[in-house]
Symmetry: C2
Subunit: 208 residues, 2 copies
Amino acid sequence: MEILVPYDPTEPKGRLRPALAARERQSFAEAMLRDVIGAIEAAGHVPVVLTPAASALSCACEKVDDARSLSTAVTAQISRRLTAGAGAVGVIMADCALLTPETVTGLVSTSGPVVLAPGRGGGTNGMVIRDPAFTADYHGASIIDHRQIAAALGNPAAEVDSMRLATDIDEPEDLPEVLLHSEGRAAAMLKSWGFSLSRGEGRVGVTR
Amino acid sequence: MEILVPYDPTEPKGRLRPALAARERQSFAEAMLRDVIGAIEAAGHVPVVLTPAASALSCACEKVDDARSLSTAVTAQISRRLTAGAGAVGVIMADCALLTPETVTGLVSTSGPVVLAPGRGGGTNGMVIRDPAFTADYHGASIIDHRQIAAALGNPAAEVDSMRLATDIDEPEDLPEVLLHSEGRAAAMLKSWGFSLSRGEGRVGVTR
């Protein structure tokens, strides 16, 4: 299955500003992208990076250049593939740094015209779409919108219950999850920069 | 399978203080407990509330009174059941408000002497233990400790990848997850108190 991985290399991960400098955020975002691509490939699927700036992207992977908004670009790319005969198209966010091949397999093997994997805070971090009439809407609490869109097409969305898909790395509070649950490029990068887990009251954090 | 649900009714959910008054925290914690108990029962398993204050607990469920520390009490209760002939004993935290019967089934049906479901921020929100030599250690980043304890017993822990098990409701930032992904007692309570989702930049929050 082709799995779209939306990624904008222009000043990525702004909400990580309190933890990482601009150049670090760029490197870290690309490390997470490579971890996601690696997990998709290891699961036997085909990652396709969907980006508004393909020329700025150095990774040796399939790329589709589409400068439209995320929702418009994803909708168009899904629709094009399904009408051309693909049975299903996936979407996984590029900052799902905990992604494993097993997680990808779990998402892809879930049946239904619209399969959704929620992200923390109302996002939609993974999808498998088998209905060419589906439209993506990433604005606001997208998981709610995507549920409504699926229902309007005639079937409730199937949902995938995965911590690894739910955990996108957007904010400093997300960084411990990378150190706790990944041994990929992004985790190695954080360690090489001196990040480690700090244990106090409640949830663990990171120190540098 | 018997599934222990540790719950201390004495001033629960202190980290929700910025969002809820003391009496509300008490009611909300008990609503989450009831949601967890309901999901376990609906999955065909037997919840056993493990508490240091059984007399203060009004719910009509099986209770075990054990005033020792969480780690000591859980270790003792697991060991006692396994040595008495149980094939497995489960543990699920009382603040996993998104728990569904399917989540419980996924945890319980995972094989291995030590099965772990991580919680956000290094916690361990679910376990299934089949080795009577296992010891629980909930202090600090417990998922790391539990992995090491399992490995020392001879086998790497099996891990369950579940957003619903990973999402314990400890901090105000967790409240949106209840409104987004549950229709249980805890969600109804938040709505009755005037909480609703607020959509801005990034993850959704709650307003009241």
